[in-house]
Symmetry: D2
Subunit: 341 residues, 4 copies
Amino acid sequence: MIHFENDYNRGVHKDLLQALVDTNDEGLAGYGFDQYSERAKDKIRVACQAPDAEVFFLTGGTQTNQIVIDSLLQSYEGVIAADTGHISVHEAGAIEFAGHKVLTLPHEYGKISARQVETYLENFYKDANHAHMVYPGMVYLSFPTEYGTLYTKHELTEIAGVCRRYEIPLFIDGARLGYGLASPMNDVTLADLAHVADVFYIGGTKMGALCGEAVVFSKDSSPKRFPTIVKQHGALLAKGRLLGVQFDRFFTDDLYLKIGQTVMEKTERLKEILTEKGYTFFLESPTNQQFVILENAHYKELSKEVAMGFWETYDENHVVVRLATSWSTTEQDLEELQRLL
Amino acid sequence: MIHFENDYNRGVHKDLLQALVDTNDEGLAGYGFDQYSERAKDKIRVACQAPDAEVFFLTGGTQTNQIVIDSLLQSYEGVIAADTGHISVHEAGAIEFAGHKVLTLPHEYGKISARQVETYLENFYKDANHAHMVYPGMVYLSFPTEYGTLYTKHELTEIAGVCRRYEIPLFIDGARLGYGLASPMNDVTLADLAHVADVFYIGGTKMGALCGEAVVFSKDSSPKRFPTIVKQHGALLAKGRLLGVQFDRFFTDDLYLKIGQTVMEKTERLKEILTEKGYTFFLESPTNQQFVILENAHYKELSKEVAMGFWETYDENHVVVRLATSWSTTEQDLEELQRLL
Amino acid sequence: MIHFENDYNRGVHKDLLQALVDTNDEGLAGYGFDQYSERAKDKIRVACQAPDAEVFFLTGGTQTNQIVIDSLLQSYEGVIAADTGHISVHEAGAIEFAGHKVLTLPHEYGKISARQVETYLENFYKDANHAHMVYPGMVYLSFPTEYGTLYTKHELTEIAGVCRRYEIPLFIDGARLGYGLASPMNDVTLADLAHVADVFYIGGTKMGALCGEAVVFSKDSSPKRFPTIVKQHGALLAKGRLLGVQFDRFFTDDLYLKIGQTVMEKTERLKEILTEKGYTFFLESPTNQQFVILENAHYKELSKEVAMGFWETYDENHVVVRLATSWSTTEQDLEELQRLL
Amino acid sequence: MIHFENDYNRGVHKDLLQALVDTNDEGLAGYGFDQYSERAKDKIRVACQAPDAEVFFLTGGTQTNQIVIDSLLQSYEGVIAADTGHISVHEAGAIEFAGHKVLTLPHEYGKISARQVETYLENFYKDANHAHMVYPGMVYLSFPTEYGTLYTKHELTEIAGVCRRYEIPLFIDGARLGYGLASPMNDVTLADLAHVADVFYIGGTKMGALCGEAVVFSKDSSPKRFPTIVKQHGALLAKGRLLGVQFDRFFTDDLYLKIGQTVMEKTERLKEILTEKGYTFFLESPTNQQFVILENAHYKELSKEVAMGFWETYDENHVVVRLATSWSTTEQDLEELQRLL
C-alpha cells in the first residue's frame, strides 16, 4: 500500500526526531518555559521579520483555531469565514462550543474576497436590527485553503485593509502553511503574513511534526493571560518541550521552508503523472493536495493499493478524491503510483 | 402616529390585564408552582388534545429557543434551521452561547422542505468525515415563519416523518402562533402541532401578553430537571404567576384563538387597503405581517405618521417595509391608515 | 392561610399596577427603548446621585447576576463571593453555565470582609502557580445578604478599596435592596452604593414589581454592546416597557424607598411579636427576613395556618424557618400571626 | 543542577522513544484509528481485567478531566471533588469553561470520604430548594491525590457504593497512577480501579510518555459520539499514533507497572536520605511526591543546585517544598542529593 490519502500518515520528520532524541535527557522547565521553546520563538520572530511578535505553541489545528478565536473575540462576536472553512465544517462545533458563531460567506475554490467581507460588514452595520445579531468580530482565512488554493499577497492586503477599517483582527489558519509558502504559484512570505495578519499559525503536524502548531500574534497584541486561557481550554502541555524542540528544529537552517520546497517538487511530479495518465482534475490546486475525479469502479480498484482521501461524490458514477504529497512522500511512492495508475 | 411597525407596541390585552388585577392579592407559590400555572397547563393540554404533554412557561422567544434547543440537544449536536430562521439571524448568537451550531438550509419564503432536511441528513451520514462535524440533532421551524408564511399540515407531517426516521426532535417556534392558526390559508390546528412536533411553543408576547411563551413538550418527553435548566439559564421567574395567570386567561373561552381570528380579519382589511391603493407586495403573506415595497421618499414621508417596520433594502430607490396588525390594532387605526396611504 | 414564607407571594404593588394600566394603550418602542424606560433611568441616576451611570432593566435576579458577571469578567476570571452567596448556592450553576467559577470565601452571617478579600488576592498573586488557576476578576456581595444582614458603609468602602487596588470591579446584588436601605441599622444610601460599587442592582421583584431589576453601572463603564449581550443571554424583553413603567413608578415620589420604610416598620412589629412570644432567633437580622428556631412538631402544626420558609435543619428536633415581611404584608397578617403563635 | 522539582522535566522513557522510532515510517490511519492504538486498548483491557471497557487516548490531564467530566455530566450537574482536587484549583477553570460547577468537600490530606460524599448527597436531596441548586452528578477522586496520598481499596469501594446508590458515576484521575499502584502502602490494582470506577485514566505524561493519558470507561458506558466530543473540545490529535504507540509500549511486558516499581524504590531511598538528614516531613506520602519543611534561607541556598517544587508557605520562616522522584531519576541524582543536603 502506498500512502497519498493525507499529509499526516507518517510519524515525524527525521531531523525533528533527532532533535527530540538529542534533548531527551535534559531536565527542562515545564509548560513551555524551557529554552528550546524560547529559542524557537526567537527564530520564528526572525523568520517572520516581526521582532515584537508573541509566539505560542499548541498541539493541533482545531485546538488552535478554537483558542485563538475564543481569546480574541468578545462574547457577542462571531468570526467571518468561507462556508468551506475548516472552522465552518470540520471542527465538530469547536468554535460554537466556545460560544461563538461562524458567520459564513460563499467560497470560490475555498476563498473569500475583500469585497465579500466588506459588503458583509457594511450591510451588518446598515441593518437597523444589528444589535439583535452576532457582531462580526474577526475574519478567518486558511492559507492554503481546504481546496489547496492560495490567496495572493494583493488579495490578503485587501482583506487586511477591510479588517483595519472595521477594526477587527485578521486570523490566518496555516495548518499547511509550509506547502503554501513553497508553491510555485505563491507570492506571499512569512514576513508578509506577519504584516497582513494580526495572528496566524504555522502548521507543524502536516509539515512533519508529531504534533504542534505555532501561533504568531504578529503585532505584539496577544490576549492577556494567554497561557491561562490555553490551560482553561485543556491545551497546556506539561512537557511543552515537545513542541518547542520541534519548532526550534523547523526554524533552524530553514528546515520548515525546505520541507515545503521538496514536497512541492514532488507535487509537480504527481501532477505530471496524473496529467500523463489522462486524469481529470477537479480543480487547479497550487499546493500539495491534488483533487481528481475517478470513476467509482476505478476508485474501488485503485484503493486496494493506493490509500487516497475520499473528498466528495461528484455524480452517480464518479467521486472526487484527494491525493496528497507530504514531507514523507518518497520517490518510490511516486514511481509506484505511476505504475498503478 | 398610528402603529403598524410590529405586534408588540402595546401593553397587554384587556382580558389578561383583568386576570392579573383579579388575582393580584392572592398569596401564591413561587417559581410557577401556583394554581393558575397548573390550570393553564391543563387547559393547554386540552386545547392541544395532548393529555400527556408537559407545559412550561418562559418569558420571551429567544430565551425559549435557547433553552429548548440547549436542553434537548447533546453537546455535540446542532439544530437544522432555515437560513432566515430567527435563531439563525436575530438572536445575537443565543444558540451558540449555549454551545450549539445552527445548521442552515436555504429558505423559500422563510420555509424549508422535508426534502431539504432529508437530503441534509442523508449527506451528513454518508460523509466519511461526519464524526468531525456537528451532528444534526433537531429540526427548528417557525410557524408562521419570519416572512409570515405558513407550513401546511402535509408539509409538517412530511418533515416530522424525516425527523422520526432519523430520531431527532422537531421543534416549532410559535412566537406568532395564534396568527398562523387563524389564517384563512391555514389547515393546521393546535392538536396537529402537538401531533407532529416533539416540542413547540405557543407565543404569548406577540398575541397580547405582557410577556410569556408556553412551551409544550407534546410527547411527555420534557428534558429531565427542566426547571433547574431554566434556572441555570437565568430564566426562572420568582413570580411565575405572571405567566400562569395570563395563559390561564388565554386558554379560557378560546381567547387565544379568538384574538387570532379578530386580527386576521383586520389583516384582510389591511391587505384590501394596500391593494386598493396600488401597493406592491414583496411576498404573499397569509398572516398578520404584510410586506410591501415603498419608494424611499414615500417611505420617509409616510413614516412621519405611520410607524412601520423597516425590513430590508429592495433596490437603490426602494425599501421593503413590514406592516403588522395585532391584537391591539383598532378600526380607527385602519381607517387612519387608509386615509394616509 | 397567612403568608410569611417569602417576599414574592403577591402580584404587584398597587401603584405599579396603576402605572401599567395607565400606560397600557400607548404605542411604545420595543426592547427598552420606550420613554418610560428612559425616564426611569434618569430618575435612578438622580436617586443615585450618579449622573454618568448607565442603567439597564432585566427580569430577575439570577439572570441579572449571570449577565452582569459574564459581561464584566474576562473568560479566564472568576468571581469572589461568600460561600453562602446566592450565586454560590442557589442559582443552579448559572455563573458556571456562562463559563465562570465562583471563588468562595467563608461567610460570617452571610458577609465577607475586606481583609478576607485582600488576603485571597494577595495569596493568589503570591502563588507561583497562579497562572494555572482562575484569576479573581470581581467581588460579589449581596446587600442585604442571604441572611438578611447588612454591610456598613465603612465595610463597603474598605472592600471597594481592595477592589480598586487590584483593579477589579465590585458588584453588589440588591435583590432586596429597598429593605436594606430602610433598615434602622443601615447607614448606606443609594448614592453610597453608586460610589463604592462599580455595578449594583436595585431589586424590583421582591419590592413589589411583577418582575424586574435595575442594573446600575455607576461609573459610566457598562460593557460594550450590553443590549446585545442581554439578547444573547435570552434576556431582552420585547415589551421592555413592562420594566420601565414599573421602575419609573418606583422612583417617582420616592415610592421605592417608602415601600422599604413601611415594610421595616412591619418587620419591627414582627420582631416584637416573636420576642413577646418567646421565640429564639437564629440570628440577628436587621432587614425583612427573620429567622427563628422552631420545634419540629410546632413547625408542622403552625404550617397549617402560616406559610413560612424552611431555611435549614437546626438539630434533630428543631428547624430554622424564615418569616419574611414584604410590601404586601398587612396589619391583619401581623395580628393573625400574633394570634396563632 | 539535579532535578527533583516534578515528574515531567525529562522527555520520554527510552523504551517508548524506541517504539516511536521503530514505527515512525509506517503509514497509519489518523485520529487514533491506527493498529497501535487498537493494540494498546486491547492490552489495557487485559491489564484492567475489563474486557468490555472502552479506552480512549487524550493528550494531557486537564484536557482529560475537562472532557470526561463534560461528556458524562448533564448540563445542570456538577462534580463533587476535594477542595484540593486538581480540578478545583489548578485547571484554570477548565471545568467551569465547559459549564459545570465543582462542588467541593473539605479534604483530609487530599482525600475525601464515603461518609462526606453520602452526607452531601443526602443533604442535597433533603434540601427543599435543591431544584435551584447544581445537581451533584459525579464524584471525582485523584489516585494518588495532589498530596501523594492513596485511597485504600476499602475506601474506594465505599465511595463507589455511595455513587451506585445515587446513580452517579465515579471518576478517578490517575495522572500519577503508576506511582500509586507501585506504592508499598497500596492495596489497589488496575482491575480494582476498573471495578470500582465508572471511568478513570491511566496517566502517561508523568510516567514517562511525551504526552498522553488513557481514559478507561470500564463499564462499556462511554458517552455517545465520544470522538466527536473530543474533536469539539479541540483535543483530537491528527497523529493519534503518538499516543497509541506509547501506550502500546507501556502495556507491553508490564513496563508501566515496572516503571512505577523502580520509582518507588527510589522514593524509599529518597525518604531514607531525608530522614537521615533530619528533615521534617510535611505529611506522610506513600508515593513519589515527598513534602518537606525547609527554612527559607536553606531553601534559597539549596535551590542553587537542586531543583525543587515550591508547594506552599509554612510559616514566616519556613516553606513546604515538593521533592519528586520519577521514571527519569537516576542513582546519581540521589547520591548527589545526599551530598548536597
